[in-house]
Symmetry: C2
Subunit: 351 residues, 2 copies
DNA sequence: GATGTGAGTTGATACGTATAGATCGTGGAT
DNA sequence: ATCCACGATCTATACGTATCAACTCACATC
């Protein structure tokens, strides 16, 4: 941590000297505040001195006094930066950026302190403290970090639902339960009797939500709990021909897949099924419980779309509430998703 | 500018009390520095207290002491945020982000203080001071702002060449002169006798560079100065049928166009020419002196590509040099562009 | 035994700001 | 004439850190 170079900038003291007033008066002119109004003549002299010397307030000093700096941090547990256009996270950033700008906050990207670099508390510091508050993002979160931040009473909003024991943290999350239940009901109505949920190994709470939606939908459709199968996968390599054949032998006719960034699991399932002569959707219905792979000429995946930009915006709004609002309890927000009607599910066709 | 809410965070003083040492010793443990080494036993006790209380250094206090905070600002004169994928500026940001992350700096996006909001010195503050230094970007710069920043001795690097009288500022810019000259020589070799340079009204130094390249290339090719025509345009509405017809009547057979974000001028020229029965390139050669519109099935614009990502990276490197390096004069960097061989120029064909 | 020597620690200070509390006129009410 | 109220300004302080200069203490040197 080096010293800054170059000559010093003018301070309020120098302004005061030049204007023939005290430093306190300069601060009064700048910020108003208690201490009474400032006489017009005095104000004029101070303003003039400010012009002449090119004074600008020192944000560090303000921050040290406990003032906010109008800066919102954005921390991503995965390496999101540099932000590629095709990036899974890009829409979130867009929303965050947009709303931060609208509310007059600057946006601090914590590119230097992601999980690979040692996380939030890398090098014994809490990098996030550079900002007034922070939006957190990412699938592979560190629960310790979250818990610590909450304990430290640092204002932050998480994008995605996470529950940490002992603290009620603030988050904005998509509602996975409702559309999953609806999808399962639809599958049941199409005649599917046994449904498989393919969860991500590291799915955490979002995975739980999908499973909850599965069970709710099944119950509403009159399916029994043991008509449901839940299995896990951590990527393409987990989806072998044998495994898929086993599912079919068990009577599975529909698979609902928890998405991941690259949707490797779901795509592998489609490949393997295809290679085994199983046509989608005739022999096997497949739906994604969230963002599906991009549509092709022949295939539109049945799924639902997460309103990422809106979630980003909402996260900033929540955070600014935390920062500027009165003492409120941490606030959670769950936003609805929109269905994507695809052609990857259909009525069962016996082979 | 509100007060921060919530309970206070532990400070070095509290760590010191708990460990039974002085605050100065705590700082020594954290930063080393002069004041001699710390005994192993003492260090251990301090570390333990830090663990137990969950101490994290206060960046504001460090900054107030004149330390750097490892933060690079990114300021854009135009409204670049939110960063759309198709955005002209996106590759620059990519490079800046990438290099900042690599060098261990966080990136502060000044979304709140663009030109529309009052510029760098909006609300009497210099927003940029929140960062150690800053990368500046944009076509419609405020020369006053640049001059002021230079006067204030604020460390910054501009992307694109700008000359400000009285100060030598630090920038990274593409070399427009060399490829422009090469293009003009090529046109001359193809038999073009009269060449038009179509400049952007607000082109500033980059426009000057193109004109310089034009003259250099012409001279090398043996064209006379009055074989060259320079005109200005600020967009599609400036390119009428009459104007284009006039050029042709004057004997112009080749147009080199200074690009803009949307390249409206160049595209309008193509449209108008087409509508007037002038085929490109047979009747009129057209080249872009920089980033051309995207290629279509039939048309690849002859142009040259600005290495935007590399320029972003280089800007950060320069800035970090300024911040960390010894006392050097401001440093400029000019990077070469790569030719794009298109099909929009050819030998002259008499109609 | 006097005198350095150097490792280890600490008190004091400055960075620039916001603000609580004290001060000082000045004029109006009593 | 005295007191009060109030507008305008100032003095003093705290925020949390890094660092300089001073200090202590043990130990080696002559």
């Amino acid at each position: 941590m080096r010293k800054r170079a170059g000559p010093r900038r003018p301070t309020q003291v120098e302004i005061a000297q030049r204007a023939g007033v005290s430093q306190a008066t300069v601060s009064l002119v700048l910020n108003g505040g208690p201490g009474g109004p400032v006489a017009e003549e005095t104000r004029r002299r101070v303003q003039q001195a400010i012009e002449e010397l090119g004074y600008a307030v020192n944000p560090a000093a303000r921050a040290l006094r406990g003032m906010t700096v109008k800066t919102i941090g954005l921390y991503t547990f995965e390496s999101v930066f540099p932000v590629d256009q095709r990036d899974f996270y890009h829409p979130f950033l867009l929303g965050v950026e947009e709303e931060a700008a609208r509310l007059g906050y600057d946006l601090l990207l914590f590119t230097s302190a992601n999980t690979a670099q040692g996380g939030v508390y890398a090098r014994g510091r809490n990098a996030l403290l550079k900002a007034d508050g922070c939006v957190l993002l990412g699938r592979h979160i560190s629960r310790d970090d979250l818990a610590n931040l909450a304990k430290e009473n640092f204002p932050f909003v998480f994008i995605g639902r996470r529950d940490i024991e002992g603290t009620e943290l603030s988050y904005v999350a998509p509602d996975y339960v409702t559309p999953t239940a609806a999808l399962v009901e639809e599958l049941a109505a199409l005649g599917h009797q046994r449904i498989l949920l393919l969860r991500q190994t590291d799915g955490a709470e979002p995975g739980d939500d999908r499973e909850l939606g599965l069970r709710q939908g099944a119950q509403a459709a009159g399916l029994r709990p043991d008509d449901l199968v839940v299995e896990f996968s951590s990527g393409a390599e987990d989806i072998g021909t044998d495994r898929v054949a086993g599912w079919v032998r068990e009577g599975i006719t529909a698979v609902v897949v928890e998405p991941s960034e690259d949707n490797a699991t779901g795509l592998a399932l489609a490949d393997v099924a295809e290679a085994a002569g199983l046509r989608i959707p005739d022999h096997l219905s497949v739906a994604f419980l969230g963002s599906a792979p991009p549509p092709t000429a022949t295939r539109i995946w049945t799924s639902f779309e997460i309103p990422r930009v809106e979630i980003g915006r909402a996260a900033v709004q929540l955070l600014v509430n935390l920062l500027e609002g009165a003492e409120q309890p941490p606030l959670q927000l769950v936003v609805p998703c929109t269905d994507v009607r695809g052609n990857s599910i259909s009525r069962v066709v016996r082979r």
